[in-house]
């Protein structure tokens, strides 16, 4: 039914997809898994026409649709949902289900505007169809609610309803269960099988919950670094060494670190609740409490959507918790704005580096020292220090940051943080998209920074940072599920958390 062959996509200096092929047969439910940044959503964009591949073709029902725009692919029968809440905001469920039937309206736009008699009948028919669909998905009572007012799980259900309303033969679901609780997930998995029967649709879904994928999918593809890593029946794939490595990284021998002065509570987090969306619709952190000890290296592990980035962003002051308290070095900073936390020495290296691409390396570094920008001596000294720590950056002072490689950008982002004289350094997924060798280089530098008197919190998905950690915490759906020394965190245990219990052969 769908045949993607040899698709490559690059934007800027990043190769998002490299020679990816995939096929979906009629009536199947196909899963696409892979760690954060693997290129899964890009692949969906290629299939649904939101991004043209640099090479390769997409064939749907035997027809080459590679050059068709997105709305024409929808007309051909490819429907999709979006990762970040893809509905018409501010409109009711009914309006959304009607809008989704754009292609099924059966009259031309001018006929509708002129109010020709036939269009009244057509509108009534669309309305009945929306009602029927809502009925089937248990949304009938909510038809006149604005979608923004709905709880997250229900919102996702409306999204699926809208995708089905488009009359698509192939529905692409982008993380349909993100933000759902365990009960909602189970219900969704059951509903999916029913949709397939009732609507005779074929489904391809991106999903981080590997056990759920294993439960509902007929066939699974695993992407990593933009490449198709493995494919196969779900159970086989879960024990595939490459897949395990993609999620966890290479198994590293963990050495026991002596804990010296480490111990004094440096940062205390108590009962943190953080949600996104209006009226706290999307819960991300639920009653999270933990502490960071002075001069330790703490690694925060968890899958995509676990709440890791939210945690560090809240610590940095970029997000406001609804409840809970944050105490830093004895002072309550819960209500302190982000800029003032920088003054206290809490510095965040954000996910995806976020360097200023149009500025040179030197200018990026100088912006890091914004609070002491008038102290020329301090700024110059800081730049010297960063270039000593990262020799890669030494002779690139004039180069635009946007033209650096991913690894160099990561170094620059850390260097920029160093310019602000951090006491607590929060590093969000430093290893994202980097090769293992570069990742280890970056972590070694962080070790060195740590020995110079900086407390370090690393956010990671895989095991790569474990060798550089004193303590490990694992987050799952916004809750702390494990806390212990890095030696207690073993490969097998983490694997079971991420990919589900191993299947006996």
């Amino acid at each position: 039914m769908l045949e993607v062959s040899g698709c490559s996509v690059r934007f800027g200096g990043v190769q998002a997809l490299r020679d990816v092929s995939l096929s979906v047969r009629e009536g199947e439910i196909v899963g696409i898994v892979g760690p954060n940044g693997a290129g899964k959503t890009t692949l969906f964009d290629v299939i649904s026409g939101f991004r043209k591949p640099n090479s390769g073709t997409v064939r749907f029902r035997g027809r080459d649709v590679t050059r068709l725009p997105a709305h024409a692919r929808a007309a051909a029968g490819i429907g999709r949902t979006f990762q970040n809440l893809g509905l018409v905001r501010g409109a009711t469920v009914r309006t959304n289900l009607l809008a989704a039937q754009h292609l099924a309206a059966g009259y031309s736009a001018p006929a509708g505007i002129l109010g020709l008699p036939s269009t009244y009948g057509a509108e009534a028919r669309l309305s009945r169809r929306a009602d029927a669909l809502a009925d089937m998905l248990g949304l009938s009572a909510l038809m006149d609610r604005k979608v923004d007012e709905l709880p997250y799980g229900v919102f996702k259900r409306v999204e699926v309803a809208a995708a089905l309303a488009t009359d698509a033969d192939l529905v692409l679901l982008d993380e349909p269960t993100s933000g759902m609780g365990p009960t909602e997930r189970t219900a969704f998995a059951d509903a999916l099988a029913e949709f397939r029967r009732t609507f005779r649709v074929t489904v391809a879904m991106i999903e981080h919950d590997v056990p759920l994928v294993a439960q509902v999918c007929d066939y699974v593809y695993c992407l990593n670094f933009g490449q198709m890593l493995a494919e196969g029946e779900p159970d086989g794939l879960r024990s595939h060494p490459d897949v395990i490595r993609a999620y966890l990284g290479d198994e590293v021998p963990v050495r026991l670190m002596p804990s010296s002065e480490r111990g004094r509570p440096f940062l205390e987090v108590d009962g943190l609740w953080v949600s996104y969306g209006e009226r706290g619709r999307v819960p991300v952190l639920r009653d999270l409490s933990f502490e960071v000890r002075h001069l330790e290296r703490l690694v925060l592990l968890g899958l995509n959507g676990a709440g890791k980035t939210t945690t560090v962003a809240t610590l940095a002051g970029l997000l406001r918790p609804e409840r809970g308290a944050i105490v830093f070095d004895g002072a309550d900073i819960t209500d302190l704005p982000a800029a003032e936390r920088v003054g206290l020495g809490i510095i965040l290296v954000p996910e995806g580096r976020q360097v200023f691409p149009g500025l040179s390396v030197d200018h990026n570094l100088r912006l890091g020292a914004w609070n002491r920008r008038r102290d020329a001596g301090y700024v110059a000294e800081g730049q010297e220090r960063v270039k000593r720590v990262f020799p890669h950056l030494a002779d690139r002072g004039k180069q635009l940051a946007g033209t650096l490689s991913g690894g160099e950008q990561q170094m620059l982002a850390i260097g920029r943080a160093l310019m602000a004289a951090p006491r607590l350094l929060l590093v969000d997924e430093a290893s994202l998209g980097l090769s293992p060798a570069i990742t280890q280089t970056v972590f070694s530098v962080l070790d060195q920074i740590n020995t110079e008197g900086v407390t370090v919190v690393l956010v990671e998905q895989g095991m790569a940072a474990l060798d550089h950690a004193d303590r490990v915490m694992i987050l799952e759906r916004g809750e702390l599920v494990f806390e212990g020394s890095s030696t207690e965190t073993d490969h097998a245990g983490l694997r079971e958390r991420y990919l589900g219990a191993p299947v006996p052969a």
Partner: protein, 356 residues
């Protein structure tokens, strides 16, 4: 908040918050009847008691309502800013005047051609809007308005140059009073088309693409095509209004379509309330009549009585009042006058929601 997350779908369990108002009492019916009759009297009977000079101004208010609806399609439905809307109106005015005076076409044909030409020029601007958007498109539309005023409307062979182009009223509607009712009929037509637009797939397509173009595309809506359609409809409505305006003043000159008019159009639409037909109509009429109120109620000299403040002439009153009301609207009542008018409308016509 926590309970809504862990509980079993409280939204589903709770009955939807429907307005469960019972049938209105006899007093309620009487009140509705009285208000309805008063509105009817104001729009249909009151003008009959006034002089032609006054009615001419009321007609302008009706035409402004069409202009407001036209801008509402672009600004409200499609989310595109246009700061050159006076040029859209002007193109319609000059086309119709040209057709009647130079080519001796009848009124209906002239207005029809004006609408077609207006739609075509809006389409061109629409194509540009697909290339550049936001602030830069606003600048382009602004420049287009200035270009039309200074150059396009001064091409003597088409517009009569400085003396302008005569635009007589159609013989069957030659008096100001009759012409007023003709314009009301056109307003009714535009209201009908706008209503069908919002309750058919075009309205939903525009709603989707304004909210999120990617979602719109995934529903099979061509963002490109529907953005252009919005321009075409807006251009057609604006040109219709322009043609009606031309025959109302019986002579069109370039000076009628100055830049401040574009500002006034945007202000009256926003203050009236984007995406609310009633709001836009009332807001537009209000601003069209501001000068008239100032002149008749001597508000200008009342302002002048304040120390250090000069008299406010009726001609510039809307442009002084407008920005103040715009600020007030954006800060306190982003829904515009419609925030008050829509509930009122729902009360008057019970059961039918004011917005599609």
């Amino acid at each position: 908040m926590t309970t809504t997350l862990t509980g079993p779908d409280p939204v589903v369990a709770a009955p939807p918050a429907e307005r469960t108002a019972g049938r209105p009492s006899a007093v309620g019916w009487a009140a509705r009847g009285t208000v309805g009759a008063a509105l009817f009297g104001l729009v249909f009977l009151f003008p009959l008691t006034r002089s032609g000079v006054d009615v001419n101004i009321y007609t302008e208010a009706v035409i402004y309502a069409i202009i407001g609806l036209s801008l509402n399609v672009l600004l409200g439905y499609a989310g595109q800013i246009s700061l050159g809307h006076q040029a859209f109106v002007g193109v319609g005015a000059f086309t119709s005047a040209y057709m009647v005076t130079v080519h001796e076409q009848n009124f209906v044909a002239a207005v029809g051609i004006a609408v077609a030409v207006g739609a075509a020029q809006a389409l061109i601007l629409g194509v540009i809007s697909l290339r550049i958007s936001g602030l830069y498109f606003a600048l382009v539309s602004l420049a287009y308005g200035a270009m039309a005023e200074d150059w396009l409307f001064n091409i003597s062979s088409l517009t009569g140059g400085g003396t302008g182009q005569p635009a007589p009223k159609p013989s069957a509607f030659a008096t100001d009073h009759r012409y007023y009712f003709l314009c009301l009929a056109f307003l009714a037509l535009v209201l009908y088309l706008d209503w069908r637009l919002t309750s058919s797939k075009t309205g939903r397509a525009l709603l989707a693409l304004r909210s999120n173009p990617r979602v719109a595309e995934s529903f099979g809506t061509s963002v490109k095509r529907y953005t252009l359609l919005a321009f075409v409809i807006s251009g057609a409505f604006a040109s219709l209004a322009g043609a009606l305006l031309a025959h109302n003043t019986t002579r069109v000159v370039a000076g009628q379509f100055q830049f401040q008019l574009a500002l006034l159009f945007v202000i009256m639409t926003v203050v009236g309330g984007l995406r609310s037909r009633v709001g836009v109509v009332v807001g537009s009429a209000f601003f069209a009549l501001t000068g008239y109120f100032f002149a008749h109620l001597h508000l200008g000299s009342a302002v002048g009585a304040l120390p250090l403040v000069p008299d406010l002439s009726p001609a510039i009153a809307p442009l002084v009042l407008g920005p103040l009301l715009l600020l007030f609207t954006l800060i306190r009542h982003p829904g515009g006058m419609a925030e008050f008018l829509d509930p009122f409308q729902r009360w008057l016509i019970r059961g039918r929601s004011a917005r599609a």
